[in-house]
């Protein structure tokens, strides 16, 4: 499911951006073609690199896929759910990040070092926000598992905890933008010096490795969306097909919204990104306070 749909999600965003830029834009299936092309190519490696550089794309992709086991998609229940899986989700992303950063440093290029350094910094702040949101959701749902948190209880909670959930959703949305290097934080379409975060870190990867990296990034965006959609659209019809349909519609909505944000906003100056992330944290914290107040 993740493998199938995540590039589509990316394609939609690009299409929306193109639409608002006054262009037709590439087909929504373009990311598939890109990936297919990359999968057929050979890799080029730098003399400087070691096996870490070759291993990183594999670990990144594998850990993102492992996370996908813990997130429900519409009628598809998450195959792995247990009390406390949220830490595993957060730390699997951490594993992916570790290898990404280390691989970037492996090339010995200062460009990639710069991207790695920024990634390490911004992720500290977004990690805080993610955990703050988790705490609030746990308090709302009284369950310490991701499937439980964003599962059946949510429609009831919207009635009681509407403001809290609103805050959680908005702060989580900022985190999505930051963690997946979308526009106000990073520019996914360039590795220009000023925007160097994610794109510059994978500058030296090529061929299959690059495909893994890009696929991993697309899947990560999809997974974050997959956490957000059940909170936003807490409709359970009980009918499998309908639920899945609702989920897909929600994902499309998020993709379009991200596209809108990207078209409407300029990239922030790098030292202001931290403030954006802090605002996301403040929102999450505010949500937590409101939860306590109502509780």
């Amino acid at each position: 499911m993740v493998l199938l749909f995540s590039p589509f999600f990316l394609g939609v965003i690009t299409r929306v951006k193109a639409f608002f830029g006054g262009r037709v834009g590439p087909s929504v299936f373009q990311p598939y073609f890109d990936l297919a092309k990359l999968f057929q190519k050979k890799c080029v490696y730098s003399h400087t690199t070691t096996w870490i550089f070759r291993a990183a794309p594999i670990v990144v992709f594998a850990s993102v896929l492992a996370v996908s086991l813990m997130i429900p998609f519409g009628a598809f229940k998450a195959p792995v759910r247990f009390s406390g899986d949220i830490f595993l989700v957060a730390y699997l992303f951490g594993l992916a990040r570790f290898f990404m950063i280390v691989a970037a440093l492996d090339t010995g290029s200062s460009f990639e070092g710069m991207g790695a350094s920024r990634e390490a910094f911004f992720s500290c702040l977004s990690e805080l926000t993610i955990f703050m949101n988790f705490v609030t959701l746990v308090l709302v749902a009284h369950q310490i598992s991701l499937s439980g948190m964003i599962g059946a209880e949510i429609p009831l909670s919207w009635k009681l905890m509407g403001p809290t959930l609103l805050l959680v959703v908005s702060s989580f949305f900022i985190v999505i933008l930051a963690e997946n290097c979308r526009i106000p934080v990073d520019d996914p379409s360039t590795h220009l010096e000023l925007t160097m975060i994610h794109e510059v870190m994978i500058l030296d990867h090529s061929g299959v490795d690059l495909a893994y990296m890009l696929y991993g990034a697309a899947a990560k965006l999809f997974l974050f969306g997959g956490i957000l959609v059940p909170i936003l659209l807490p409709i359970h019809t009980g009918h499998g097909l309908m639920d899945t349909l609702i989920f897909v519609v929600g994902m499309l909505g998020i993709a379009i919204f991200i596209g809108l944000v990207e078209s409407g906003m300029a990239r922030l100056r790098l030292n202001r990104v931290t403030n954006l992330l802090l605002i996301a944290f403040a929102l999450a914290f505010f949500g937590f306070i409101v939860r306590l107040w109502r509780g």
């Binding site: 490696y45 003399h47 492992a66 730390y91 950063i101 440093l105 492996d106 790695a116 310490i144």
Partner: protein, 607 residues
């Protein structure tokens, strides 16, 4: 599960009683593993000093330290405990000052000696307060005594200071970043892995003996954990020397352990046995885990220093090509200390997180707020540790060498030094992939500290998620293997072309252009500059053709530079003044002692 051994010992109030309970068992596990590894490693490491120094003395003190620590964790009597504690401190001092020709090492040794004795003084006071109330020097008897809340508070404070100095809680940590880098690497591994844990053991023992503490004690412990953890890792990020960095990381991990103990203590105070057991068990598991991976990291760092002759991170680079095995083992340690899945650090952090979240659901408002702070700081610590170890690993082992090092291809350290590292790395992965055994053991310890009967229900409640994590880890491994095969299938057999690193068209790459550790950590350190007292010196250039300029940056340890140094300078000045005014001869000191003795005698006679 308890065993008591007794030997005749003719010391007033002293009894040579050794007792093995779950708490001592857990600490003994860590001690034995690390004694073995550091000892074997030391054989190889000390080869290069053969003839130049007396290695026998070193070996003697090492073994003495191991025995003393073993005694500390099994002693069941105050006098025996304190004797072993002193023995341990002194043996450690001699190990630290191995390179006693360097003034910095001598200074570090003295600093350690003074710090540890201040701590021991508090412990003396604490134990005698306890013994006075209990009327016995025996731990088991003490455990059956009830203490008044006020006394419990005082004892708690003394324990925190006394053991905290040893453990390296902020701000009593100042000796630690000096002493650990000064010692030979295997000693640093042992110090960091085991000796500072004895501080934790001291606190655990007191927690067990006292049974009931006022509620605020738990909050204090939690706060200490949060502060030490976050500040430890932030200081570590600002360091330029690998062993000093690792020493600061020990403070961070001690912080995590204290956080876990705080969770446990609060769970106990609020009568939530599951939270209590989880917090204590997580902390104890982290004690073992930290011993393993920090030992591994220190041993790895030692291997690098021995081959490269420097520990400055910014002078190293590309070590992975020279020492591939060491670098892989170091990677295992780095991944473990960041608490990433597949490795052991994750398991203990998971238990603490789990306890914290359970607490958020079950405790009253005040507790919820503190537990949320705990969760946030643990998340922050995790992310910062990741930044710090990507920095260490990426800069030291990857990229190009930053200074010219003559090497002949690969050059690993000797088998004496490799074997312990392999063992430790294996343990990291074993606990990471099959946590059940260790989780059971530490949960037993957790139950013991929480003063509750071992309950299969609670054990299941923690083992169940752990086993699923286990399964997921194997799925992850399977996915990795699958992806490797897909890649191999797509790429075919022939070797891939290699070329220069692509740097946007710029071709004159030199190793000096690489990102350094200082620049890597700069965004974070700069962001926290007011907390860390991060300062840059120099670095301004002016004019169209700037002249040579110098720039250095430094992170000031606030508690060292602004708390202890001024206080001790004042103290020294004061004592100097007294010294100049009155005391000239040794005899005068003796007279003072004599007068005091007579006073004591008279006092005793009257009573």
């Amino acid at each position: 599960m308890e065993k008591i051994i007794q030997f005749p010992w003719h010391v007033p109030f002293g009894e040579f009683t050794l007792k093995l309970d779950p708490l001592s068992l857990i600490f003994l596990t860590a001690i034995i593993i690390l004694t073995l590894c550091a000892g074997i490693y030391g054989v190889g490491y000390m080869r290069s000093y053969q003839g130049a120094r007396s290695l026998k003395a070193h070996a003697f003190f090492f073994l003495l330290l191991a025995v003393a620590i073993g005694l500390v964790v099994t002693a069941n009597n105050v006098i025996l405990f304190l004797c072993a504690w002193e023995l341990m401190s002194i043996a450690t001092y001699f190990l630290i000052v191995f390179h006693d020709e360097k003034p910095s090492v001598r200074r570090a040794g003295f600093l350690y000696l003074i710090a540890t004795h201040c701590g021991t003084f508090c412990l003396f006071l604490m134990f005698f307060l306890m013994a006075r109330t209990a009327g016995s020097m025996d731990f088991t008897v003490m455990a059956h005594t009830t203490f008044s809340p006020a006394l419990a508070g005082i004892i708690f404070f003394l324990a925190i200071i006394g053991s905290g100095v040893k453990a390296g809680f902020l701000p009593m940590h100042i000796w630690l970043p000096h002493a650990h880098p000064a010692a030979p690497s295997h000693v640093s591994a042992f110090l960091s892995g085991v000796t500072i844990k004895i501080g934790i053991y001291g606190i655990c023992r007191v927690l067990w003996i006292m049974g009931i503490f006022p509620n605020w004690c738990g909050y204090v412990l939690l706060t200490i954990g949060i502060v030490s953890g976050v500040m430890g890792v932030l200081y570590a990020l600002g360091q330029h020397e690998i062993k000093r960095l690792l020493a600061y990381h020990s403070i961070e991990n001690i912080g995590i352990i204290a956080l876990g103990l705080g969770v446990g203590l609060l769970g106990r105070s609020y009568h939530q046995p599951f939270i209590a057991a989880l917090g204590f068990a997580g902390a104890l598991l982290h004690v073992i885990n930290h011993a393993i991976f920090k030992g591994l990291l220190f041993l790895g760092a030692g291997a690098v220093i021995q081959k490269m002759h420097t520990g400055e991170i910014d002078k190293l680079g590309g070590v992975a090509k020279i020492m591939p095995l060491t670098s892989t083992l170091f990677l295992v340690g780095a991944l473990s200390i960041c608490g990433l899945p597949l490795f052991n650090g994750f398991i203990s952090e998971f238990m603490i997180y789990f306890g914290l979240f359970q607490g958020v659901l079950a405790l009253p408002l005040q507790g919820v707020v503190f537990f949320v702070l705990g969760i946030l700081s643990l998340a922050l610590i995790g992310a910062l540790a990741l930044a710090c170890f990507t920095k260490v690993y990426g800069i030291v082992f990857l990229g190009n060498p930053r200074s010219s090092i003559e090497t002949k291809g690969t050059e690993e350290v000797s088998a004496w030094m490799m074997a312990p590292m392999f063992l430790l790395a294996g343990l990291c992965i074993w606990i990471g992939l099959m946590p059940a055994v260790m989780a059971r053991l530490t949960f037993m310890g957790g139950n013991f500290l929480a003063h509750m009967e071992p309950s299969a229900f609670y054990l299941g409640k923690i083992l169940n998620p752990l086993s699923i994590i286990n399964g997921t880890a194997f799925v992850l491994l399977a996915l990795i293997i699958m992806l490797v095969f897909v890649r191999r299938w797509l790429l075919g057999k022939e070797p891939m072309p290699t070329s220069e690193t692509w740097s946007c068209g710029f071709t004159q790459l030199s190793s000096k252009l690489q990102y350094t550790s200082s620049s890597f950590a700069r965004p974070i350190v700069q962001y926290f500059r007011n907390t860390l007292l991060f300062r840059r010196y120099g670095g301004e250039v002016s004019g169209e053709f700037p002249q040579k300029a110098q720039m250095s940056s430094h992170v000031h340890d606030a508690s060292e530079d602004y708390l202890f140094r001024p206080v001790f300078t004042r103290l020294r000045n004061l004592s100097k003044r007294i010294d100049e005014k009155s005391i000239r001869y040794t005899q005068i000191y003796l007279i003072y002692i004599f007068v005091f003795l007579i006073f004591l005698l008279v006092w005793k006679m009257r009573g």
